[in-house]
């Protein structure tokens, strides 16, 4: 397993009298090359969970494991886990930046993290922090920018001159340039118009095709339907379901977790309810729907 969460629990600000568990006993495994969507309503703990992957948040008990990196604030547990690792791996565990290079985390509205004078320099910032030389950083950054569809003529512009969608792609390039094995994105399509959404999702799809693991936190069920292969549902800080998009939308408990159903599945459910004669069990996207209806 590339990523595993083991009894991960996280409590915000224990001293605060109204503290609550943001994560309760989460167990999850993700293997290399998967495309996973993490869904659940606002406040269900999705964003907190992904932040344990690169140690921005450390589980109060239990641990998150990424390859041989152990993330936990439980010192005893950490020591125990270190015993299972080789000497080299223990050494690497002490270097946080190695984990952060491995797990690229793109936050919600990542355009707010841009700060450099030029687009290219901004993208180069990550790789140079991860100890690449100026030249190497430049090379990977140019590649990353091209992969998100930013033209060379933009490289020397100020990032603040770009449009919203462009800024977001530059910010994503800033993470891609560090060549992470695992790309985690928190609401990458939020606030974009349909065109912008599609562009971003196509970029992510391409990264996935290169064999990278994708973990996507999203509210957008159309994105889940069209791109994800596996869905993890969180509700009230607990993991309640690991399934495929198709099964999730077909099931009846989707409303229990206050998730919206894509219109396609709403329609499909209506047809089933009203006793449609043809078999709809293989309908999972628009084309397959038309295929059945048009027969």
């Amino acid at each position: 397993m590339q990523v595993s969460c083991n009894n991960v629990t996280f409590v915000y600000d224990k001293k605060d009298p109204n503290h609550y568990d943001a994560l309760k006993d989460i167990n999850l495994e993700i293997s290399k090359g998967e495309f996973v969507a993490l869904v659940g309503k606002t406040g269900s703990g999705k964003s907190t969970l992904v932040q344990t992957l690169n140690a921005l948040i450390k589980p109060t008990s239990g641990y998150t494991k990424v390859d041989y990196f152990i993330v936990t604030s439980d010192k005893k547990l950490f020591k125990e886990k270190m015993k299972e690792l080789s000497e080299d791996e223990v050494k690497k565990n002490k270097k946080l930046y190695l984990l952060r290079k491995k797990v690229g985390l793109v936050f919600q509205f990542p355009e707010y993290q841009l700060f450099s004078v030029t687009v290219l320099k901004d993208v180069m910032f990550g790789p140079t922090n991860f100890n690449l030389t100026e030249e190497e950083a430049k090379k990977v950054s140019i590649e990353a920018l091209k992969s998100v569809g930013i033209d060379e003529s933009y490289f020397n512009k100020s990032p603040f001159e770009l449009s919203g969608g462009e800024k977001r792609r530059v910010a994503i390039a800033g993470i891609l340039a560090s060549d992470p094995d695992i790309l985690v994105l928190d609401e990458p399509t939020a606030g974009l118009d349909p065109d912008g959404k599609k562009e971003i999702m196509e970029v992510i799809k391409k990264v996935h095709e290169k064999g990278k693991t994708i973990i996507l936190v999203t509210h957008d069920m159309d994105v889940v339907m069209n791109y994800a292969k596996k869905v993890v549902v969180l509700n009230d800080s607990k993991l309640v379901k690991i399934t495929t998009p198709h099964e999730l939308f077909d099931s009846d408990d989707i409303e229990k977790y206050s998730l919206e159903i894509p219109t396609l599945y709403k329609f499909k459910k209506l047809l089933v309810k009203k006793g449609y004669k043809k078999d709809l069990s293989n309908v999972y996207d628009f084309n397959s729907l038309i295929e059945v209806l048009g027969k």
């Binding site: 936050f107 919600q108 707010y112 993290q113 700060f115 922090n129 560090s178």
Partner: protein, 295 residues
């Protein structure tokens, strides 16, 4: 994190209910009597001790947590050391012939009791100031303080001073502090994911890390204020126009009682100050009443 001005406590004590103008006046009154001279050091400590006892009683009525008071004091350790160095170890200027030395070094350099007491005295005053402001901030919402401030500034309107604009500016600033803190936190997390380490590194690296926070934060501030001004304009705000006020400050019976109590306390301490300064013998209570030699 959310409240930089000391946390407003969720109680509804008499002090919480007091008019914010009365509380601010009381704060000023208490601060003044904190800084009045009361004769020699023994006197000062006795009188400030009484004042401190009164403040502790008020803290108890206001249900101020003593723990948060202590944690506020923590940051004063550095200050205390600094004061000691200045008053005790740095040779005193001027006439020191009447001072009482603690030790005399072979080279003639002396450390005096006066230096020690003076630093303790300043320290004591600071502790009381902190206690007083803590009482105010833990019982008064920041907005009410701006209303009070606006009220105190009202006389300035005669000279065409734009008090309304000033108080609107302050209240908007207060309104956006939690929003901006939240945002700063998000930006820092995003930059950490790009390999920034805000804790480590040499000065040049630190400056660079700080720019990765400041630049995006400023740019978001600008765009926020842009949108905010549009929203205010759309809702008919005119800075110099005549506006009515939703919040009104009303003086109740309790407020008058509190005002009288504060007045009595301030008057009592001022009288003591007068006696110690102007009536022979009163600058040294211990000697006057008990015949103990003190300085």
């Amino acid at each position: 994190m959310k409240n930089v001005f000391g946390k407003l406590t969720p109680y509804n004590t008499v002090i919480h209910r007091l008019d914010s103008r009365i509380k601010m006046l009381a704060l000023i009154g208490f601060m003044v009597i904190c800084f009045l001279p009361y004769g020699n050091y023994a006197n000062r400590f006795i009188i400030l001790g009484i004042l401190f006892a009164i403040i502790l009683v008020i803290m108890a009525i206001a249900k101020c947590s003593f723990l948060s008071f202590l944690s506020n004091l923590k940051s004063l350790w550095f200050m205390m050391i600094f004061l000691l160095i200045i008053f005790v170890f740095v040779p005193q200027a001027g006439d020191t012939s009447s001072y009482h030395p603690i030790v005399t070094f072979p080279n003639g350099y002396q450390i005096y009791y006066e230096g020690l007491f003076q630093s303790l005295h300043v320290f004591f005053r600071l502790v009381m100031m902190i206690a007083l402001t803590l009482i105010l901030t833990s019982t008064t919402p920041p907005m009410e303080m701006t209303y009070a401030l606006e009220w105190f500034l009202t006389p300035l309107r005669i000279i065409k001073f734009p008090t309304q604009v000033i108080s609107m500016t302050i209240s908007l600033a207060l309104r956006f502090i939690p929003t901006l803190l939240d945002e700063a936190n998000k930006i820092m997390k995003a930059q950490k994911s790009r390999g920034v380490d805000y804790e480590k590194g040499f000065l040049t690296k630190k400056i660079k890390s700080v720019t990765t926070l400041i630049v995006p934060l400023l740019s978001s501030c600008f765009s926020r204020s842009d949108e905010l001004s549009l929203a205010m304009n759309a809702r008919g705000y005119e800075p110099y126009g005549k506006r009515s006020s939703y919040r009104i400050l009303k003086i109740g019976r309790n407020d008058i009682v509190a005002l009288i109590i504060v007045f009595i306390i301030v008057a009592a301490f001022s009288t003591m100050c007068y006696f110690t300064q102007n009536v022979a013998g009163y600058d040294n209570f211990l000697h006057l009443w008990f015949g103990i030699g003190a300085f």
